[in-house]
Structures are given as C-alpha cells and as structure tokens.
C-alpha cells in the first residue's frame, strides 16, 4: 500500500471513530438522563401540586409558545430586511456580526437585562411574559441569521421571475422568497425553541421561580391564577431542576424530582425538534418535487 493510501485510510478511520464516539456519547447521555429520571419515579410527580411537575411542564410549553410568538415574526422580518432591503456595505456587515454575537452573549447577562427592562422598568413582579421576551432577545438573532442566509441562498431567478410577472417587491418576498426559504427558516425556529426549553439563567429573575395556578381558572385569562395569564410568575422545567438542586433540596424527594424533570425536559425538546424537522423535510420535498 502506498503512503498516501495508508494515510487516507488512517484519516478515514479517525473521522469514523470521532463520529461513533460522539453518537455513543450522545446516546449514553440521553439514556442515562431518561433512566435516572424513571428510577426514582413516583406517581405524584405527574400531578399539578406538591411534588408534581405538571405546572412546570405547562409553563415551559407556554413560555416557548409566547417567545416564538414574538421572535418568529421579528426574526423573519429582520432577516428579510437584511437580505432584501439593507444596503450592502460596511454598515451591513457590522450589523450582521452584532446580531450573530447577540445570540452568544452569556444568558445570565441577558437575564439581568430582562430583569431591568421587563421587571424593574415596568414595575411588575416576575411573570411569564417577561421570561418569554427575555428568551426572545436570545432567539431572535438565531431566526434572523437563518432567514437572512436562507433568502440570500435562493437563486436570483426566483426574484426576477416574480418581478417579471408584474409582482411588487413585497409580493415577491411574501409569496415566493419566504415560502422557498421556509425549510431553512424552520431550522432557526428549532434553535430558538431550544433556547426556551433549555434556558435557566435568563429566566431566574424574569419568569420567576414559583407557580400559583388554579386549573379551574383556565379560561379566565385575567385571573392571577389562570394558567393562561401571561402576567403570572411561572417556573419552567429547567428552572425547576435548578431550584430542586438548591433551595428545594430540603424536600426529601428533591433529587428524584430533579432527575425526573430532566428526563421530561429532554424528551420534550427532542420531540419538538423531531416534529419540526419532519415539517421542514416535508416542505422541502413538496418544494423540490421529484417525479
């Protein structure tokens, strides 16, 4: 065997090994979390009161939903602006770099900023909406960057084809460019939701560490104990893990609760990613056809 060929084999082997190690590690991690979570499982974990985490489960979904409600339109709007309206040049480059670095700022800093703006300045107490808005600060850049890149990657012929039929620029963007870029934009939405599921530090001082819900009041949105009231405080799953590991540790089942919460959170995030990926793949398939 020649030297070049041996080297090639070796490198291929190394890359395969790295890939398998990563996969094994990921599987190990996920399975450990899920098994540990199930090991100490007690039925009352599923309830809404006492040791139950149903409220936290609901809060997490609600908070992610609210934050996407804010970050998806703003993120897509900003991405479209960057790709289609902003003038090319130094300013645009600086702007793009700033947006990209915004999403990698330490989340505790963003959390304190959210506390300052959404809690101190508004004079309200901890609430879910403040948490969702704080998460949006972290997730808008992800959607913006993804949208910007997706639209720039589209062939210029799409735009010309649409304008050539007498469409205006905004019709072209709404009816051709955004739908064509949607599969990739959804990748940004997955990452944005991931921030919402996983974030704890940014929520400490914004959405709060307690939940007082009365499920009887579900549709009475203005009631301070209604689950749907966005102005009530609401602890999410990831925050609950942290609380159970610190001040909540007085509870004799704290470790089991924290483990179970972790398992639920991992499964929830995984499910969301899988479902969104499926939608995105379907769209891609529908767009690109095949016979």
């Amino acid at each position: 065997m020649s030297r070049a060929k041996r080297k090639d084999r070796l490198m291929t082997g190394i890359f395969y090994a790295i890939g398998w190690i990563m996969l094994a590690f990921l599987l190990y991690l996920t399975l450990t979390i899920i098994f540990d979570g199930l090991k100490g499982f007690q039925w009352d974990f599923l309830g809404a009161a006492g040791n139950g985490i149903f409220d936290q489960f609901f809060n997490t979904i609600y908070l992610v939903f609210l934050s996407l409600l804010v970050s998806v339109p703003i993120g897509i709007g900003a991405g479209v602006y960057l790709a289609e309206y902003a003038k090319e040049g130094k300013f645009l480059t600086i702007f793009e770099i700033s947006i990209e670095s915004l999403s990698s700022l330490p989340s505790i800093v963003i959390g304190l900023f959210g506390y300052l703006v959404f809690i101190m300045w508004t004079g309200m107490s901890w609430n879910i909406l403040a948490g969702a808005l704080t998460i949006s600060i972290l997730s808008i850049p992800l959607i913006t960057t993804e949208t910007n890149n997706a639209i720039r990657a589209l062939p210029v012929e799409y735009k010309e084809g649409s304008l050539g039929l007498g469409a205006t620029k905004s019709e072209t963007i709404r009816k051709v460019l955004i739908p064509a870029a949607m599969p990739q934009i959804l990748t940004g939405v997955i990452m944005a939701a991931g921030r919402g599921f996983g974030e704890a530090a940014a929520l400490l001082y914004t959405s709060g560490q307690s939940t007082y819900i009365n499920w009887q009041n579900f549709w009475k949105v203005t009631s301070p104990t209604s689950p749907l009231n966005p102005f009530r405080s609401g602890e999410t799953l990831s925050l609950h893990i942290w609380v159970m590991r610190t001040e909540g540790a007085l509870n004799p089942s704290a470790t089991q609760i924290a483990n179970f919460t972790s398992a639920v959170l991992v499964v929830l995030a995984l499910l969301f990613t899988l479902v969104t990926r499926r939608i995105s793949d379907r769209m891609r398939k529908r767009n690109n056809g095949g016979n």
């Binding site: 062939p155 012929e157 799409y158 735009k159 010309e160 084809g161 649409s162 304008l163 050539g164 039929l165 007498g166 469409a167 205006t168 019709e171 009816k175 051709v176 739908p179 064509a180 529908r286 767009n287 690109n288 056809g289 095949g290 016979n291």
Partner: protein, 252 residues
Amino acid sequence: MMEDKITIEKLNLYYGDFHALHDINMHIQKNEITAFIGPSGCGKSTLLRSLNRMNDLVEGCRIDGSIKLDGTDIYNGDLDVTVLRQRVGMVFQRPNPFPMSVYDNVAYGPRIHGITDKKELDEIVETSLKQAAIWDDLKDRLKKSALGLSGGQQQRLCIARALAVKPEVLLMDEPTSALDPISTSKIEELALELKKNYTIVIVTHNMQQAVRISDKTGFFLLGDLVEFGETDQLFSMPKDERTEKYITGRFG
C-alpha cells in the same frame, strides 16, 4: 405599413461609468419575432432587459433616450412598472419555475393581479398550458412540484406562466441555451405559433435560430446596434462589413 409595438429612440444606457448601449434606435413591430444577435457582452441582453425595466434591479443603472410601448414612454410616462411587466412578459435564460406546484406556478401571476375565483384560475391555467403546448404533458401532474420537470418542460411551463397574465409582448432571453436540441425545436415551434397573438423579442447566441424563426434581426457589437433589418436580408446580404464577418463566423 405595420404598426410599431415598441419604439426605441436614442437610447443610451450606463452601468455606473460604463456606457453599455450607444444611441440605439429601433422599431419593433407587432406580431413579429425580432431577434437580437451578437457576441457576449455586446449589450443585446441589456437592451432586452430595458424593455420591461428589469435593469431597474441593477444598482447604478441609468438610462436616457426613450422606449415607447404603444406610444407611451415606459420610463417617464404614467405607466406603472408592475403594469408594464404584465404587458411585457419575460422568459429567462435558465428555466426558473418557482418551488411550488405546476398549477401554482401558472396561477401565480393572475393571483398577483387580483384573480381569486377558482374556476377562472382553472381556466387560465389550462389555456396558458395549452398555448405553451405542454397541457397534455402536465394535465395529470398539476399538483406536483414544478422542480421535478425536465428542463424543456420547465421552460415551456415558464412560457405558460408568462402567458397567464395576458401580456402583449414576450421577451425571451436566450430561452433555449440551457436546453437539448429536441426541447429547443419545440420552443422554436412554439414561438412561431405565439407570434400570431404576441409580439416577440428574442435574444439568441444561435444564429441559425434567428434565421429559423425571426422576421427581423438586430446585430449588436460593443454596445452599438450595427445593423437592423429583415432577417433574410441581414443574413444573405449584410450591409455592414462587421455584420458579415460575424455571421460568417470570422469573429464572435
């Protein structure tokens, strides 16, 4: 005496400092096919793209002189650019169907211009696809993505899409350069059929194509319109030495 559909007078076009078209004068007549030929970079595509103001998209593009559509100045008149582009449709070099179904591609233009009635849209889609001679190929796959079609089918779909907004003029920018010979001859037959109802302007690299389908031909060189006249005459007895050199293959 035939009617002028498009009248180009003393047209100069600049990309920033670059003077791309010099003093072009041209009369494009109704229900004829007018071909633009010339070597790459001679300005033929630039001129074509001025006829529906696609050059507006290019930053630093500036124009003086006038282009009139049925006597109305398309740059300085009251003609809205979206209306202009509806009346002057375009088919591009690379087939560019949108990433959506065959039906939605053809219905795109009519929908943009305010047609929402399902029956009316169905009719337009069918008529347009028939006019583009591709209805039989596609009638059973209207809901399938247009990107799954072959190149030749895609290009005829794009012609159908352009026809769906009921244009008066059809601009074709090297419409067969990305296609195989069979698809090319289908597009050429189609162009001959369409000229009964439309005015067609076609840019082509292929001189035989100009001879086969066009009534008039303009030969461009370095931004000048060197010669413009009846296709037969231009190819058999060119008046200008440069035209002769080009069509006999001595440069270009």
